[in-house]
C-alpha cells in the first residue's frame, strides 16, 4: 500500500519534470539504461540492484555503475537498492529508448524520489553547460550567486568589493547574460556592473550555466549565456521535511542561516508546499593589512511555493522577496579625476577601519519581488503545454555620502532610486514526438516600465519596454546522433522619456521632456549537434546567430553613478549620426566530454563569438563639472571577437583520490581599433586534490573528505592602451585553499559539517575584474564553517 502510494507520488513528480513521455510504441527491444551514482561524490556504485516490475527483471550495475535493460513499451516500476543507501523507487513510462540515472543517498537520508536532473527547465543539449549541485553547491553556501558560479570553468565575475559579484560568462556580462530565476528571466537594473543579481542563492538546489548564446529559448539577452537558478522540485512524498543551512565566516564575521520547510499532505497528495527564508549579515572585510571600512552587508529573504500536481496537469505558485543592504567602501567612491588619481597613488584607504557590522553611506538598498504562476497540461497526443506568468518589482536605492543637515540628509533620502516593474508571459508547447522529431514551440512577452523616484537624480530615463518573441526549437535523434535547430524572432519597442534641463540667459531654468521610441525586429537562429562517439565520449557543436537591441542605459544613461560619470551613446553621439543599432553575435562552440570513465573524465570547450556592433564603454575626453574634472565612461559600438577555451579534467589517481584541474582562457579583440578590449578575464587555472573516506555508513560519523586547492590567475597583459584604464592591470596571483568535511549523525539526522579555508596564505592581491582594485587589496584569509541539516518529520516515509 505504502509502496503504491509513493509510486503514485513519484509519478506525479515525474510528470512535472519529465517532458518527453513519447507516444511512440516500438516493440520489445527498447533500451532502458542509466547509471547509479552516489549523490554526494557522484561516483558510480558498483553492484547496485535494479529491479523492474512487472516482470521482476533484475540486474546489477557494472564497474562504472551502469545498468541496461531491453523492455517492451509500457509503464514500469523501478527500484534501485544498494547497501548503505536509501532505496530509490520510481515509475517510468517507456515509449522510446529511455535513460534514467539514479543518485542514491546514504541510507539515513530518507526517500526523496528519483533525481531527474536538468529537465525541469531543459538546457539546450548542444551547448556547453555546467552545473553546481549537491556537495559542490553546498561548498558555496553563504556566497553571493555570482561568487558561487565562479567555481564553474569559463564563468567569472565583475566584482565590486566583497559583496557584489556580477556573473560573467565567456567574458560577457550584464545585458548579455540572462538569469533565469526559477524559470523566470530576472529583470531589474541588471545593466549596472555594480548591481549584483537580486537572488538568494539558498533558494537553489542547482545552479546551471549555459555557456554561449542560448537566445532561442531564453531571449535575446542571452548572447553570452544563461544562468539557471533552480529550486528543488516540490516535495512529492507525504510528510514534512526541512533543510537548514548555517554558515559562519571568520574574515568578515558573516553569519547566515537559511531554512526551508516543505510538505505534502497524505490526504491530498497532489498538494505540496514550501516555505523558505534566509538571514545573512556580514561586517567589514579584512585584507591582509587593513580592514575595509563600510563593507558590511545584510540580506533578509523569503520565498513560498505551493503546487497542485496531477498526472496530466499541474499548477504552481511562487513568491519570493529579496532584501539587501550593501555597504560600499567609502574610499572607493572618489568622484573627480584628481581624487581618483590621489586614491590610486595612495593604493589603500586612508582609514584602517575597526571591525563593525555598521553600514553607513554610501550603501545600496535593494528589494526584488517575484510572483509567478506556472501551469502545465499534458496529454498523450496533444503533447505538453506550459504557461508561466510572472510579475517582478525591483527597487534599488543608492545612498551617497551627503551632508547630514541637508534636506536629503535629514530625511535620509537616496540620491538614486530606480523602480522597475516587469510582467513576463511565456507559453511553451512541447509537441508530441513525430517520428524522430521532438521539439517545442513558444511565445513570450514582456512588458516593463522603469522610473526613478521624485527628488532623486535622473541617471536612467523613464522608459517603457515591450518585447514579444516567438521561437521553434526542434530535435532530431537517430541512434547516437542528435541534431538541434532553432529559430526565434523578437520585437522590441522601447519608449524613453528623458528630462532635459537648460537655462536661458537670465539664469532661470527651464525643463523639457525628450521622447524617443526605438523599434527593432531581431532574429536569432541556432543549429547544433550531439554525437555520442561511444558510451564514454560525447562531441557537441553548436552555432548561433543572435541580435540584441540596445537597452535604455546604453542609449541614455547620464550622470555620476557610484563615483563614475557615465554617458549613453545617444546622449553624446555626433549630430546627424544614427542612434545606437542592435548588436549581432555569431557564436560557435565545440565541446568534447569524457564521461563515466573509471579514471579520466572531463570536458573541453572551445568557442568563438564575433559580435558586430558590440556596445561597450570607453573612457572619453575629460569633462568639467562643478565637482571637478571627470573621466566619462561613454558607450560606443565596435566590432569585437571573443575566443577562448574552458577545460575541466578529473583524474582518479587511486581509489578515493581525485585530482581535478580547471583552466579558462579568453582572448578578446576590438576589431575596429585592432586592439584589445578592457575588462576581459585574465587566464585562470585551478588544481585540486580530494581525498575521501567512505567509512561505515552505520558509524556515528562518516563520509569524510579533505581537499586542497591552488588557484592561479595570471596578470592580464592583453589590455587596450593606458588611456582607457585609470590604472594598469594588477599583477597575477596564486591562492591556496582547503576544505575538510564529514557527515555526523545526530539521532536520525545526518548533519554535514565542513570547514573551508580561502586564501590560507593571506596573500595580498588584486583582481583585474574587481572594481575596488584601484583603491584596496582583496580579501585576506577566510575560514568558513558550514552546517547542512536535513530534517524529516514525516512518519510515513519509508527508508528502505
Amino acid at each position: 500500500m505504502l509502496f503504491r502510494f509513493v509510486a503514485v507520488l513519484l509519478l506525479a513528480g515525474l510528470c512535472l519534470g519529465f517532458a518527453q513521455v513519447g507516444a511512440a510504441q516500438n516493440g520489445c527491444s527498447l533500451s532502458l539504461a542509466g547509471r547509479v551514482t552516489d549523490h554526494e561524490s557522484r561516483q558510480g556504485l558498483v553492484g547496485a540492484t535494479v529491479v523492474l516490475r512487472p516482470g521482476e527483471q533484475a540486474t546489477q550495475t557494472d564497474a562504472d555503475g551502469n545498468f541496461h535493460f531491453h523492455v517492451c513499451a509500457g509503464t514500469y516500476q523501478m527500484e534501485v537498492r544498494f547497501i548503505g543507501y536509501a532505496t530509490e523507487r520510481t515509475e517510468v513510462r517507456v515509449g522510446a529508448a529511455v535513460i534514467r540515472n539514479f543518485q542514491l543517498h546514504p541510507d539515513a537520508v530518507t526517500l526523496r524520489g528519483a533525481t531527474v536532473r536538468g529537465e525541469r527547465v531543459q538546457a539546450p543539449l548542444a551547448q556547453a553547460s555546467s552545473t553546481l549541485t549537491g556537495q559542490a553547491l553546498q561548498q558555496t553556501r553563504g556566497q553571493a550567486l555570482g561568487e558561487a558560479l565562479q567555481k564553474l570553468p569559463g564563468v567569472t565575475a565583475i566584482q565590486t568589493g566583497p559583496s557584489i559579484f556580477k556573473p560573467m560568462i565567456h567574458g560577457l556580462h550584464s545585458n548579455r547574460v540572462a538569469i533565469m530565476n526559477n524559470g523566470v528571466r530576472q529583470e531589474g537594473q541588471q545593466w549596472g556592473q555594480e548591481h549584483g543579481p537580486e537572488i538568494d542563492p539558498f533558494v537553489a538546489s542547482e545552479l546551471t550555466v549555459v555557456k554561449g548564446a542560448a537566445s532561442i529559448r531564453y531571449g535575446t539577452d542571452a548572447v553570452g549565456g544563461v544562468v539557471l537558478v533552480q529550486p528543488k522540485a516540490l516535495r512529492d512524498s507525504a510528510g514534512v521535511g526541512a533543510d537548514v543551512n548555517v554558515v559562519g565566516m571568520s574574515n568578515n564575521g558573516l553569519g547566515a542561516v537559511s531554512a526551508a520547510v516543505d510538505g505534502n499532505l497524505a490526504r491530498l497528495p497532489a498538494l505540496s508546499w514550501r516555505l523558505q527564508g534566509t538571514l545573512k549579515q556580514a561586517g567589514n572585510t579584512r585584507t591582509p593589512d587593513y580592514r575595509l571600512d563600510n563593507t558590511g552587508f545584510q540580506e533578509r529573504n523569503f520565498s513560498a511555493a505551493v503546487g497542485w500536481r496531477k498526472d496530466n496537469y499541474g499548477v504552481e505558485a511562487f513568491f519570493s522577496q529579496f532584501n539587501s543592504r550593501l555597504g560600499i567602501l567609502s574610499a572607493a567612491i572618489v568622484g573627480n579625476r584628481t581624487d581618483l588619481e590621489a586614491a590610486i597613488a595612495r593604493g589603500r584607504p586612508t582609514t584602517d577601519a575597526a571591525f563593525s557590522y555598521q553600514i553607513d553611506r554610501p550603501y545600496q538598498q535593494l528589494q526584488h519581488n517575484l510572483a509567478k504562476v506556472t501551469g502545465f497540461l499534458k496529454s498523450a497526443n496533444g503533447g505538453r503545454f506550459t504557461a508561466t506568468i510572472a510579475n517582478q518589482q525591483d527597487f534599488r536605492d543608492e545612498y551617497d555620502v551627503i551632508r547630514a543637515s541637508s534636506d536629503a540628509g535629514r530625511r535620509n533620502l537616496p540620491q538614486l532610486s530606480y523602480q522597475n516593474y516587469t510582467t513576463t508571459t511565456d507559453l511553451v508547447w512541447d509537441h508530441p514526438a513525430a517520428g524522430q522529431f521532438r521539439g517545442s514551440v513558444g511565445l513570450s512577452g514582456t512588458y516593463q516600465y522603469n522610473r526613478y523616484a521624485g527628488g532623486t537624480r535622473q541617471f536612467i530615463p523613464f522608459y517603457t519596454n515591450w518585447t514579444g518573441g516567438a521561437f521553434v526549437l526542434e530535435r532530431w535523434q537517430h541512434k547516437r546522433l542528435l541534431l538541434e535547430a532553432g529559430l526565434r524572432l523578437d520585437r522590441r519597442d522601447l519608449s524613453t522619456r528623458r528630462l532635459t534641463r537648460g537655462y536661458v540667459t537670465d539664469s532661470s531654468s527651464y525643463y523639457g521632456v525628450e521622447r524617443n521610441r526605438f523599434q527593432f525586429w531581431t532574429p536569432s537562429a541556432s543549429v547544433g549537434a550531439v554525437y555520442d562517439a561511444n558510451p564514454h565520449f560525447t562531441l557537441r557543436a553548436d552555432a548561433g546567430l543572435v541580435q540584441r537591441a540596445p537597452a535604455a542605459n546604453e542609449r541614455y544613461s547620464q550622470g555620476v553613478h557610484s563615483g563614475i560619470y557615465e554617458e549613453g551613446y545617444d546622449i553624446s553621439r555626433p549630430a546627424g549620426s544614427p542612434p545606437l543599432q542592435p548588436e549581432t553575435a555569431y557564436n560557435l562552440g565545440i565541446t568534447t566530454t569524457l564521461h563515466d570513465n573509471p579514471r579520466l573524465n572531463g570536458e573541453v570547450t572551445v568557442y568563438q563569438n564575433f559580435i558586430n556592433g558590440y556596445i561597450y564603454q570607453v573612457i572619453g575626453e575629460p569633462i568639467t563639472t562643478i565637482q571637478g574634472t571627470f573621466l566619462p565612461w561613454r558607450f560606443q559600438q565596435t566590432d569585437a571577437v571573443f575566443r577562448g577555451v574552458d577545460a575541466t579534467l578529473d583524474y582518479q589517481l587511486a581509489a578515493n583520490w581525485l585530482l581535478n584541474g580547471k583552466a579558462a582562457l579568453i582572448r578578446a579583440r576590438n576589431r575596429t581599433l585592432n586592439s584589445y578590449l578592457i575588462y576581459v578575464p585574465a587566464d585562470r587555472f585551478e588544481l585540486s586534490l580530494r581525498r575521501e573516506w567512505a567509512g561505515q555508513s552505520t558509524a556515528r560519523t562518516g563520509h569524510y573528505f579533505a581537499l586542497l586547492r591552488g588557484t592561479a590567475v595570471r596578470r592580464q597583459t592583453r589590455v587596450p592602451s593606458n588611456e582607457y584604464d585609470p590604472q594598469p592591470a594588477p599583477d597575477g596571483y596564486a591562492l591556496l585553499g582547503a576544505e575538510i568535511g564529514a557527515t555526523v549523525r545526530l539521532g536520525n539526522t545526518p548533519v554535514e559539517v565542513s570547514l573551508t579555508g580561502a586564501n590560507l596564505l593571506n596573500e595580498r592581491y588584486r583582481d583585474y575584474l574587481n572594481r575596488f582594485r584601484y583603491f584596496a587589496n582583496d580579501m585576506g584569509r577566510n575560514v568558513i564553517l558550514r552546517l547542512h541539516i536535513p530534517l524529516n518529520f514525516s512518519s510515513t516515509a519509508s527508508t528502505n
Binding site: 567609502s330 567612491i333 572618489v334 568622484g335 573627480n336 584628481t338 581624487d339 590621489a342 586612508t350 582609514t351 497540461l377 496529454s379 496533444g382 503545454f385 506568468i389 555620502v401 551627503i402 551632508r403 543637515s405 541637508s406 534636506d407 540628509g409 540620491q415 510582467t423 508571459t425 511565445l443 512577452g445 514582456t446 512588458y447 516600465y449 522610473r451 526613478y452 521624485g454 527628488g455 532623486t456 537624480r457 535622473q458 530615463p461 517603457t464 522619456r497 528630462l499 534641463r501 537648460g502 537655462y503 539664469s507 531654468s509 525643463y511 521632456v513 547620464q558 550622470g559 555620476v560 560619470y565 554617458e567 569633462i623 563639472t625 562643478i626 565637482q627 571637478g628 574634472t629 566619462p632
Partner: protein, 185 residues
C-alpha cells in the same frame, strides 16, 4: 476535456495578460523636474577690500548639472598688493527659491574644509579665518593678500570629510572643485 484547454483563445488570453497589468499602470507619465537633492550649481567668491571700496564677486556656474551645456566661469579681477576679506557661497540655483548650501556646510563645518590653491603660488596668499568646533580651520571666511600685478588661476575645493577631518586636504572627496582665472591689475 483537457484538450479543450489547448484552444488558441486560452493562449491568447494568457499572452494578453500583461496588457491588463499595463492598462492599470501609468506608463505614460513624464519625469517631473524634481531635482537632484545634493546639487551645487554655483560657487560664488565675494572679496571685500579691507580698507574700504566696493566688493568683487566672481561666480562659477553650471545650471544644467553635469554634462550638457558648458559651465560659465567668471574671471576674478583684483588689485595687486591689497588685502581682502573673502566669503565663499555655494548655491543650488535650480531650486526655487534658490537653496543656499553654504548653511549646510557651516552647520557641519567639522566635516568640511575649503582648500584654496593659487597658481602661481605668488599670486596671492589666502588664510582661512574661521574654525570648526574642534578648532580646525574651515575656510568659508578668508583673508586674501594679493601679490604683485600678474595673472593666473585660483582653484577652490570644498572637501567633504565625514571621516577623519584632520586639517589637511587628504581625507574625503570634492563636493566642489572649481578653477577661476585671476587677473591682478
Amino acid at each position: 476535456m483537457k484538450t479543450t484547454l489547448f484552444r488558441p483563445s486560452f493562449a491568447a488570453a494568457l499572452l494578453a495578460l500583461p496588457l491588463l497589468f499595463a492598462s492599470c499602470k501609468k506608463d505614460k507619465d513624464d519625469p517631473k523636474p524634481e531635482d537632484d537633492n545634493e546639487l551645487i550649481t554655483t560657487v560664488r567668491y565675494t572679496l571685500t577690500p579691507a580698507n574700504g571700496g566696493s566688493a568683487v564677486t566672481v561666480e562659477w556656474k553650471d545650471l544644467d548639472g553635469d554634462g550638457g551645456t558648458a559651465p560659465t566661469i567668471g574671471t576674478l579681477r583684483l588689485a595687486p598688493n591689497t588685502t581682502y576679506t573673502g566669503a565663499v557661497t555655494f548655491l543650488d540655483e535650480t531650486k526655487n527659491p534658490v537653496e543656499n548650501t553654504t548653511d549646510e556646510v557651516r552647520e557641519e563645518s567639522d566635516e568640511h574644509l575649503l582648500v584654496f590653491t593659487p597658481n602661481p603660488a605668488s599670486l596671492m596668499t589666502i588664510t582661512r579665518t574661521d574654525k570648526d568646533k574642534n578648532g580646525l580651520e574651515v575656510g568659508l571666511a578668508t583673508r586674501v593678500q594679493t601679490g604683485a600685478a600678474a595673472s593666473g588661476t585660483l582653484k577652490i575645493q570644498l572637501r567633504h570629510q565625514p571621516d577623519g577631518k584632520d586639517g589637511s586636504a587628504t581625507p574625503g572627496s570634492d563636493d566642489a572643485n572649481v578653477t577661476f582665472p585671476v587677473v591682478l591689475q
